[in-house]
Amino acid sequence: MSDNGKHTNVIVRIQRFNPDNDQKPRMQDFQIELKPGTTILDALQEIKTHQDGSVTYRKSCRHAICGSCAMNVNGKNELVCKTPLRERLDKNGVCTVRPLPYLPIIKDLVVDRTAFWEQYLRVKPWLAPPPTVQTDREYRVSQEEVAAIRNAETCIMCGACYSACQVIALNKKYIGPHALLKAFLRVLDPRDAIPGERLADLDGSDGVYRCHTIFNCIDACPKGLNPTEAIETLRKLAQRRLKVEEERLERQKTITEPIA
């Protein structure tokens, strides 16, 4: 793009919509100078601060850890703060940015995540601590047990997976990949006291069986996580729920003792 250090102008095409004034969304082109290292968020920021301050989006950490800035770029969901603009230009030098699909639009690139957070809350994202209370030591958790849930733990709740899932498009009653991944984290955590109760809840028709293994959640996840595998695991565990409960009780008997 930028040969001999010369910068080229490129176009960022943004979907605009303010429900207070507009009938329906429209696309608007902004021209900006492409500098090396410009991320899509930098481009939006440049447009907002110098061309049109009403262009609206969420942002905060700008390094892919807070989950604010998931958007749909050229048809794919991603975090705009970590994506170089250069890599998302088509052959005409255009990059198209839309809000996350299937969610109500609040303004421009900002979507209403009410259903998303309701489902998060619904799976009781918190740990239900084991009955053995001890305040002067940690519980013992093996490195393998940590490794098994590590991926789920790094979910930043950005919603890229959620809004790529066609089941969500059809039905917001579905718990959704983000919350199921969270549930997976809790069910597998040896310290959680209520895996049985959780599995019973996920077993309903809005839970793990509503997933049609579409895989979009994996493809969309900017943190490289794998909700589908978590959902498949939960499906299997749900079938042996009582067994899981028993095993957990057994495991928690030694939760304060050193791992051999």
Partner: protein
């Protein structure tokens, strides 16, 4: 925007980072029924989640392998073995790190509570990295004389924040997500609530409460190259200052040695904790010259200054010579993938370099705000240098200044501070509310003033763009009030800040709508930056010594005789801050000031 509803809660907590979440969680747990948390971004987007390296606590599960020296490999401590770390050692390291400006009672409380807090995180579901026998693992961090940083790979803040938020939800705390606090209502040194803007609708509400806590985070966004999130605009600090609350030690701003070149995005100190090197253009480990003992693991202020010196003396790297190399290659693929996976991805995404194979260009980056709203050890905000309280007003976390970090914070001590003091604030607030605190009457209509402020801001036409003013501010703060300071530069900064403040009054906001107006918020945030920057500069200009992160080239020595004291700044109308001073809490027997050498 004519909406005039008044919202009432027992407790209103502004900020949903670790400090705010802990306070809310604990207050609710202690039986306060009606706890509400306000956050200008969704709670899980708070900057605490960006912290990478770890949270300090002397758990003593890991120690250096005997006979390998201070930088050797680590092993788990066998049961019954002699402890390699202790709370006292943690206290001493923190005091030394603070360059003796930290209040020692507060530091002792923090280091003692640290162990409880980390165990509590564990009980609440935090997924820490582990030793072989299943204990919480520790790693080394700069300025700590033992491996003391408890961590979850390199997304420690992320797991802590999620854990604290989940537990606050569990206890029925009400969250106002994307509500922006505009003002703090204090009359007769009694706090009566806040005024807040519902970002979604643009409506401005008066929110009354028996107690208010500010856990609004740091102010690193006043600088050009910064590791801080967009949200870290020091709103709480500026709002409190405007409401007549003093600010303490604002001139102490920490620069982190390893921000990604040009971006400022943080490469965690864990990079060096795990054994990374810093190299100059000649590929020398230049820290040999500055801290022969601790090398790369010297405290941040020292390492940043060393880097800046290398850069200033022409041994920097990259085209403009403003960079330094971070070398992780010798750690090997496996260790990098296991311990520093996020850091590696950041390097790949932002500077296109994979640390497994290549040197990563870095530079110092504005990172942490030592100063803030002064409080006692129970997070009760004080009204002046004498320590009189602002009744019903609490502060914790990076927005507050207890002060446990003094002139320089040690890595991993701030997640700790936010958690420990957030928790203490929760207890204190619960006691205050349950002890019969009453909802205080309001004098006028505080929301009306804010509506007027917003209307006036939106009404300006013509004028310069707010962003241009903000950029100029950041540039002058970085160039003239950065790592190295001197009288001439600070005077320049002072002139600039005052001029920019004046220019701001006619600057224009582009978006005039009421729905989700982030342009308006950016303008308000810029105003806040301008507000507290004058305090930073004034404090720095007056403090004619070098201590911790405050380094005056014209006064290169620490001056305990004149300056072993906290700066306390009150707003003095349009004249800028009025400075007074407060003694440092020092145990002269146990921890008398010493020379700080690493």
């Amino acid at each position: 925007m004519s909406n005039t509803t008044t919202i009432i809660h027992d407790v209103i907590i502004v900020g949903a980072g670790l400090a705010g979440s802990w306070a809310a969680m604990v207050a609710a747990q202690q039986g306060v029924k009606d706890v509400a948390v306000l956050s200008k971004i969704h709670p899980l987007r708070s900057h605490s989640g960006a912290a990478q390296g770890g949270i300090a606590a002397a758990l003593n599960n890991v120690r250096p392998v005997a006979g390998t020296g201070p930088r050797g490999p680590l092993e788990q401590v066998p049961p019954g073995a002699e402890p390699a770390d202790s709370i006292d050692l943690h206290v001493f390291d923190t005091i030394k790190g603070s360059d003796w400006l930290g209040d020692q009672t507060a530091i002792e409380i923090m280091c003692r509570d640290a162990v409880d807090v980390v165990y509590e995180y564990e009980r609440l579901g935090c997924v820490f990295s582990r030793t072989q026998d299943g204990r919480i693992a520790q790693r080394r961090f700069g300025g700590h004389s033992a491996p003391r940083a408890n961590f979850a790979a390199d997304w420690t803040g992320h797991v802590l924040l999620h854990t604290a938020h989940e537990q606050a939800l569990r206890h029925g705390v009400k969250f106002y997500s994307e509500w922006y606090c505009l003002d703090l209502i204090i009359e007769d040194t009694i706090c009566r609530g806040v005024v807040a803007l519902d970002v979604l609708t643009g409506a401005i509400h008066t929110m009354r409460a028996k107690a208010v806590l500010f856990g609004t985070g740091g102010y690193g966004r006043a600088f050009k190259i910064t590791s801080n999130a967009f949200a870290n605009t020091g709103d709480g600090v500026a709002i409190a200052y405007n409401a007549g609350v003093p600010l303490m030690d604002m001139e102490f701003v920490q620069f982190h040695p390893t921000g990604l070149y040009k971006h400022g995005i943080l490469m965690s100190e864990a990079c060096r904790g795990e054994g990374g090197y810093l190299l100059n253009a000649q590929q020398e480990r230049f820290m040999e010259k500055y801290a022969p003992d601790k090398m790369e693991l010297a405290p941040r202020d020292l390492v940043s200054r060393s880097e800046q010196r290398e850069i200033d003396e022409g041994r920097g790297v990259e085209a403009d010579g403003q960079g330094i190399w971070l070398d992780l290659r010798h750690l090997g693929r496996e260790k990098i993938l296991a311990r520093l996976p996020q850091v590696r991805e950041l390097a790949i995404d932002f500077v296109g370099v994979d640390p497994i194979d290549d040197l990563v260009p870095i530079q110092p980056t504005a990172h942490y705000s030592m100063g803030g709203i002064p409080t006692d050890v129970d997070c009760q905000v004080i009204a002046d240098a004498s320590g009189a309280p602002v009744v019903g007003f609490y502060a914790a976390g990076e927005a507050a200044c207890v002060s446990v970090h003094g002139a320089n914070r040690l890595g991993t001590n701030s997640l700790l501070e936010a958690s420990v003091f957030g928790r203490r604030a929760g207890f204190a607030i619960a006691e205050f509310v349950k002890g019969g605190a009453k909802l205080q009457p309001l004098g006028g209509d505080p929301a009306a003033r804010q509506r007027q402020r917003v209307r006036e801001m939106l009404g300006r036409e013509g004028g310069e763009l707010v962003e241009d003013i903000a950029q100029e501010l950041k540039t002058t703060m970085t160039n003239n009030c950065g790592i190295f300071r001197d009288e001439a530069r600070l005077r320049q900064a002072w002139e600039d800040v005052r001029a920019l403040q004046a220019r701001f009054r006619t600057a224009r906001v582009m978006d005039k709508s009421s729905r989700f107006n982030t342009d308006l918020l950016a303008a308000i945030e810029a105003e806040h930056l301008l507000t507290f920057s004058e305090v930073i500069v004034a404090g720095a200009l007056t403090r004619t010594e070098s201590r911790g992160a405050h380094s005056r080239t014209d006064f290169p020595k620490r001056d305990d005789k004149n300056w072993l004291k906290h700066t306390v700044a009150h707003k003095n109308g349009a004249d800028g801050p009025q400075l007074s001073y407060k003694d440092v809490d020092i145990d002269w027997q146990k921890y008398p000031p010493q020379e700080r050498k690493y």
